[in-house]
């Protein structure tokens, strides 16, 4: 049996500087995104559902819904973009729950890496995936007659708004995933409240067509602000107003401000 001298400190760089946080985050992102490269069917199937939504809404409801001065497809796509981005955010919680069950989160937490990198890497790689799917929706929309009507800059801003809104929701999903842990329960818990939230909004039909009590909810629904803000950038007034853009941005800031600390404290305590 040997006895040791006092342990020497700091053998490895354990910096907390922003450079290390970024590097750790990129390492985690790369790992998450490789999944889609290695198993392309994952991406294929995650695009089938939004494509189906576009086609079903455009062709099933499109004929029944007439709007003054525009085609339904132009009205619809802002809703589809937001819905795709919000639904896509559920992957975050599911991915984290899977990592937890496989013991990978334990491994990450036992490494001298930056504490926020696992969550930042997860949400950002899901944002990249979301961007891919939303851009695909743009393509599908164009094939069936959709057009950005306010020029390139507003089109880019519209996509940025959609991405930011979805990104705020990935942190809600992260909190759910870390709190519930069981993959299938997370799956159910992530989706169930998103249906009323996205459908009871201006995403697919004008709010005015809803019964009063529902219209009241829909008008104050953050999804409506995001959709109307996006619609303003795509179509201009009166389909949305600048105020909607600002309200959507305010919601994004609020959601991130609440759920980033929530998710991080959940992650630190993840047993």
């Amino acid at each position: 049996m040997t006895t040791s001298t006092a342990p020497a400190p700091a053998p490895a760089p354990t910096g907390r500087g922003p450079i290390w946080v970024i590097r750790d985050t990129l390492v985690v992102m790369r790992r998450n995104l490789l999944k889609y490269v290695r198993v392309p069917t994952l991406l294929v199937f995650s695009t089938v559902q939004p494509i189906m939504f576009v086609l079903l809404f455009a062709f099933v409801f499109g004929g029944a819904i007439t709007l003054p001065g525009i085609d339904y497809i132009d009205f619809l796509m802002a809703g589809i973009f937001v819905q795709t981005s919000v639904f896509g955010s559920t992957n975050t919680g599911i991915g984290l729950a899977e990592d937890m069950n496989k013991g990978l989160i334990d491994r990450f937490r036992s490494l001298p890496m930056s504490r926020s990198a696992v969550l930042a890497g997860r949400t950002l790689s899901d944002a990249v995936r979301n961007l891919f799917v939303v851009l695909l929706m743009v393509g599908v929309g164009y094939l069936i007659g959709f057009n950005f009507q306010n020029g390139f800059v507003d089109a880019v801003l519209a996509i940025v708004l959609v991405m930011l809104f979805g990104y705020a929701f990935t942190w809600i999903s992260a909190t759910i995933g870390l709190a519930i842990k069981d993959v299938e329960s997370v799956q159910a818990a992530s989706f169930i409240w998103l249906f009323p939230l996205t459908f009871a909004s201006s995403a697919f039909v004008p709010v005015e067509t809803m019964p009063d009590w529902l219209a009241w909810f829909a008008r104050n629904n953050p999804v409506t602000h995001a959709v109307n803000g996006t619609r303003y950038l795509i179509l201009g007034e009166p389909w949305g107003f600048p105020a909607d853009v600002w309200k959507a941005l305010a919601w994004i800031v609020i959601l991130l401000g609440v759920f980033i600390p929530f998710a991080i404290s959940r992650y630190r305590r993840a047993v």
Binding site: M1, T2, A6, P11, V27, L34, D106, P112
Partner: protein, 334 residues
């Protein structure tokens, strides 16, 4: 407990509860650098919780602990840079290849990418995974995954390695293989703390062993010291008729230095004895006089199972801890 001048792992009075389940009720440990330390105990005894506290995954409710001089609560990041951990399940990404898994872990140990790659290749070779290194992990066998998991815990060249039930769920051949790997590691000076419910594993690998039960260390020492606490040898008699167990115990009582213990599951009576000489003859005479039929009789050196039995009245493998603890422990497997 012997005092080392500078134990590389030191824990004092660690407690941890989950709700009203006391997973740890005051664990004290000291591990000298360069040694292998075994935490032995049944499921739910507190082995995993101890490891999770020492590796910073859990914060203790009370007590203090340090690894390589770093406090488990206040110096987490520094502590993490000198340890490696392999848990009960292979914590590797199935979609990535074996090599990619190791490079990722190396990068997260803050190595340069080039250095992480170099170490990944070295370790793959050492763990006999070079050929499989470029295959996705989902094509690996259970034994290969465990090896990769162990490999991942070594990428950072840890001074202290924690292995939580490293061979649970492995077939005997893979288990022997993993033991060889672990022994070669330790030969290079790494300090190892491993938990196990397998007595032979602790017996073979560990320099010192702490027997842990109900969140407490109930005995500590080398394998020989622990066995010495029993005294001499153990006489074991297996009966034909389970209803004669009591009668057999009565016939053997007073033979030597301890009272017989009964094990109904295997129809066995065990008696501690001083030496093998003359013992079997004496026992057979007593049993014969009582008109009891035997299947088998043997004298053996005490095993760690005998130690555990004498300390707790239960076999290691039978001891059932609080269901609450088991639930906590198995959380991630649900």
């Amino acid at each position: 407990m012997p005092q080392h001048e500078n134990p590389i792992i030191r824990a004092e009075g660690l407690t941890k509860s989950f709700g009203d389940v006391h997973a740890l009720s005051g664990v004290d440990l000291e591990v000298a650098e360069g040694t292998v330390y075994g935490l032995l105990g049944p499921n739910g005894a507190g082995k995993t919780t101890t490891v999770r506290v020492l590796t910073t995954l859990l914060t203790p409710d009370a007590g203090t602990a340090s690894v390589a001089g770093y406090d488990v609560v206040t110096q987490r990041t520094a502590l993490r840079s000198v340890i490696g951990l392999a848990g009960q399940y292979a914590a590797v990404d199935e979609i990535l290849t074996g090599r990619e898994n190791l490079v990722m872990v190396g990068q997260l140990y803050r190595l340069s990418t080039a250095e992480a790659r170099r170490r990944a290749d070295d370790i793959l070779e050492r763990f006999d995974l070079s050929d499989a290194g470029n295959r996705p992990v989902k094509t690996y066998s259970g034994g290969m995954r465990r090896r990769l998991d162990l490999a991942a815990s070594l990428v950072g060249r840890p001074r202290v390695l924690f292995l939580d039930e490293p061979t649970t769920g492995l077939d005997p051949r893979s288990r022997l293989g993993l033991w060889d790997f672990i022994e070669s590691l330790v030969a290079e000076g790494t300090t190892l703390l491993l938990t196990t419910q397998y007595l032979e594993e602790a017996d073979r690998l560990a320099d010192r062993i702490a027997v842990i039960d109900h969140g407490r260390v109930i005995a500590e020492g080398t394998s020989t010291e622990l066995k010495g606490t029993i005294g001499g040898d153990v006489l074991e008699l297996e009966l034909v008729d389970p209803s004669q167990l009591e009668a057999a115990a009565a016939a053997l009582s007073g033979m030597c230095c301890g009272e017989p213990t009964l094990e109904h599951l295997t129809n066995t009576v065990r008696v501690p004895v001083e030496s093998a000489v003359g013992t079997i003859t004496d026992a057979v005479r007593r049993i014969d006089r009582a008109g009891i039929d035997l299947v088998d009789i043997a004298v053996h050196r005490p095993t760690l199972d005998d130690v555990f039995l004498s300390l707790t009245g239960e076999h290691v493998t039978e001891a059932v801890a609080d269901p609450g603890k088991r639930r906590k422990r198995q959380r991630s497997m649900s």
